[in-house]
């Protein structure tokens, strides 16, 4: 019985939250990696673009709520996401046309692109804050829990409860569907393959008649979808605050690089690597050991490797280690 309790404990406090957080990071990381692989720059506006997409989603959610439209037990935001995506893509294409296109034609070095993306970051941040304000917003409605901790305890007779939030299930489900679709698109369709070819070797791809304009367009469309859905899922699960989104850029970058930048599958797994290591290293295992170990060996302290304050620092340290020992990432991405 104690053993089961211990497993439920880990499931409830480590596995499910890490899986959710990892999914959110993974979507962002694939976004970073796609931009890096195909447009060839580190996009420092990542977090703010995600917050832009989320903002559009929230505005549509409010609109639907005012109309009285709802999805019943599911959050209304799911209905608003497609509209948010459209706005996000339009915004990205606008930015690309007025900002990035010029440097692409100039064949500017990646550093210059990165600087320009900082300009975009400032502008996007201003736009989001001017439109929706900097405060914390919750836009979740519908049923909050699928399984409540108390119900679970009554059902199974265990000491530990397992709470399953609907946002967690939605996040994991949507991520799986979206990522499978994306990989199907990249590996099976002609456009996807040409994107890969373009990313591998631009000149060769151009020689074989691939239209660069189309590649760039498709990249931004996919990026818009990923950014909006990733951002909206994060906002549903936690809350929407522009500043938090800006900060999330850092673990997202870490995930993309750990997975091997330029490699979408690596970025996908990188998200989970970062999320699990953040939570595994900062969780206090005291209760777990109380269940597992005999009474005489019970630990005195919290048995926490690092205090939760260092959550971000964990992922960054992992990144630094990976950069040092395996600069191309766990799964080989573009060679540095």
């Amino acid at each position: 019985m104690d053993f089961l309790n211990a497993i439920i404990l880990l499931l409830n406090y480590i596995f499910i939250p890490a899986l959710t957080y990892g999914s959110q990071l993974a979507l962002g990381a694939i976004f970073v990696t796609l931009i890096y692989g195909i447009l060839r720059f580190a996009n420092f506006a990542t977090g703010d673009m995600m917050s832009f997409g989320t903002m559009a989603t929230i505005l549509f959610t409010w609109y639907f709520q005012s109309l009285g439209v709802s999805l019943g037990v599911l959050p209304t935001a799911l209905l608003a996401i497609p509209f948010g995506i459209i706005f996000m893509i339009l915004y990205m294409l606008l930015i690309d046309k007025f900002v990035f296109k010029y440097y692409r034609y100039q064949k500017s070095p990646p550093v210059q692109f990165a600087m320009v993306s900082i300009g975009v970051m400032f502008v996007t941040q201003a736009v989001v804050r001017i439109i929706i304000g900097p405060s914390d917003r919750r836009f979740f409605d519908g049923e909050k829990f699928i399984i409540k901790a108390r119900e679970f305890k009554e059902m199974t007779g265990l000491n530990e409860g397992l709470a399953l939030k609907s946002t967690q299930v939605i996040t994991i489900f949507v991520t799986i569907v979206l990522v499978s679709l994306l990989f199907w698109f990249l590996n099976r369709t002609k456009t996807g393959k040409s994107m890969k070819a373009y990313s591998d070797n631009e000149d060769l791809a151009l020689l074989s008649g691939i239209d660069p304009k189309k590649i760039v367009l498709v990249t931004w469309v996919i990026a818009g979808i990923l950014a909006t859905i990733g951002g909206a899922l994060y906002g549903l699960d936690k809350s929407f605050k522009p500043f938090t989104y800006f900060n999330n850029m850092l673990p997202i970058f870490a995930a993309a690089i750990v997975g091997g930048i330029g490699n979408p599958f690596g970025a996908f797994l990188g998200g989970y690597v970062i999320a699990f290591s953040e939570i595994l290293l900062t969780y206090a295992y005291k209760k777990f050991f109380i269940y597992v170990l005999p009474e005489s060996m019970e630990p005195e302290g919290l048995v926490q490797l690092l205090s939760t304050d260092y959550k971000f620092a964990v992922s960054f340290s992992i990144l630094v280690i990976v950069l040092l020992y395996r600069p191309s990432g766990i799964f080989k991405g573009k060679v540095l």
Partner: protein
């Protein structure tokens, strides 16, 4: 003279702008803008040395600034004897353990050939070392943090004058830069940017959460000052007489003696804070001028020429026998040290250390906007960038408020859109910075005052 015309013109315009703030808003605001412009200028010079001279991208400016600030705390605060007694020994033991760990790793690195076993054993040493240090220092840290937590709860500093911290801040930042440089400088430019950004976040996380050293988010307030206190000035005779002399015209108009005394008191209060700010301006100006002279000398020295050669063509410089790795590390340390000075200056001016306020937007990206806008590779440009961008950053809100009111003059105050826009005035500074950066990058990619190489 003639060829420096644009420099002189740009600086005169800048000065006129600040004077205008003084005349139209208040001298207090003008001087506080001016002081922060000077600090920003020091930071920009540091970033400019790395980016403009050597082409190294350092997005970790925030971390070095915070370390400079930490130096100000550690130098100027009086030591907390009780805390030292409570946990000083444990902390010293932990420090000693760290030194031992580093020495052991160095020994292994020197002694054995590169192999998987070596890597794993080093990793094992680091992990077990961290655990050992954590468990041995834990009681000491807890004891220190328990010492009067509302007021101290940390070890305190050395109780020296705060101006010394400017040098120590440079040393701290340089030390960190040495470690970061050893680790990350081999990376390609954009990876280096990301790595330095993330490392600076780690530094901030440590400063925020190691309460025994920095008091963390509880902040350290009331640091010593190199300048007199306003309250003291207001009761000093010579200062009151000085204010009276300055404003004799204004005061003589007032007939009533009591009214005149009241007016004088008001002027003294205002004057005292202006005077204190002027003291800071003087100190900061000295630092800026010294740094400017040094950096200019360096730029035109053979060393500066070598740095530019490395920046423009690394392979060629390498082939000419220049040690690129070593020079990169050197310039990375120098630039970061200058940023560290600025961090210490900032805390000196504020008189308080708030680790929670270090955010990458303000301390990394804004500084980069300054470097790019001012003109990378040109020290005068970098300083100008610091001035222009900081001035706009502060004055963006009034300017945009004015513009909004101007363009929506016909719309009634109750209009929802107008009210919303006026409410969000503080965020127009981001817009202004972003657009400014994008326009400069596009139409004047070398900045307002571009790099100019004279062969002497």
């Amino acid at each position: 003279m003639r060829k420096n015309l644009n420099v002189i013109a740009a600086y005169s315009i800048m000065m006129v702008l600040i004077l205008m703030v003084g005349i139209f808003q208040s001298w207090n605001i003008a001087l506080s803008i001016f002081n922060l412009c000077l600090i920003s200028a020091v930071m920009t010079m540091g970033a400019n040395i790395q980016w403009g001279y050597a082409g190294l991208i350092n997005f970790g400016i925030m971390g070095y600034t915070a370390l400079g600030g930490l130096a100000a705390v550690l130098i100027s605060v009086d030591p907390v004897q009780e805390a030292w007694r409570a946990g000083g020994f444990d902390i010293l033991m932990a420090l000693w353990l760290i030194v031992v760990m580093v020495l052991v790793i160095r020994f292994i690195l020197k002694r054995f050939e590169k192999s998987k076993i070596r890597t794993y054993s080093i990793a094992a040493i680091i992990i077990s070392g961290i655990l050992l240090i954590r468990f041995s220092a834990e009681p000491g840290i807890e004891a220190i943090e328990a010492v009067d937590p509302a007021k101290t709860g940390f070890l305190g500093g050395f109780g020296l004058p705060i101006v010394f911290s400017w040098i120590v801040g440079a040393l701290f930042a340089g030390g960190l830069a040495f470690i970061v440089g050893k680790v990350a400088l081999g990376l390609r430019a954009d990876y280096l940017a990301i790595a330095t950004l993330l490392i600076s976040e780690i530094v901030i996380a440590i400063i925020k959460h190691e309460d025994w050293l920095t008091r963390g988010v509880k902040n350290v307030i009331g640091l010593k000052r190199p300048a007199p206190y306003e309250v003291d000035l207001q009761t000093t005779d010579w200062f009151i007489r000085l204010v009276e002399k300055f404003n004799s015209g204004k005061l003589s108009v007032i007939e009533n003696l009591a009214d005149r005394q009241a007016a004088l008191n008001q002027l003294v209060i205002e004057g005292s804070s202006v005077f204190v700010k002027l003291c800071y301006s003087g100190l900061f100006l000295v630092v800026v001028i010294i740094l400017l002279i040094l950096t200019q000398k360096a730029l035109y020295s053979p060393w500066g020429r070598m740095m530019r050669a490395i920046r423009d063509n690394e392979e060629a410089a390498n082939a000419m026998g220049k040690n690129v790795v070593k020079q990169h590390l050197l310039i990375f340390i120098l630039g970061s040290a200058i940023v560290g000075i600025a961090g210490a200056m900032l805390v000196t001016q504020d008189g308080l250390f708030t680790p929670g306020s270090y955010r990458p937007m303000r301390y990394t990206f804004l500084i980069w906007v300054m470097v790019i806008v001012g003109g990378s590779g040109n020290n005068f440009g970098a300083i100008l960038g610091g001035f222009v961008v900081w001035f706009l950053w502060i004055e963006a809100a009034p300017i945009s408020l004015f513009l909004i009111n101007f363009f929506t003059a016909g719309i009634p105050e109750t209009n929802a859109l107008k009210a919303h826009l006026i409410e969000s005035v503080p965020y127009f500074r981001f817009l202004l910075m972003g657009l400014g950066l994008l326009f400069i990058m596009r139409y004047r990619p070398k900045g307002i005052l571009p790099e100019k190489i004279e062969i002497k």
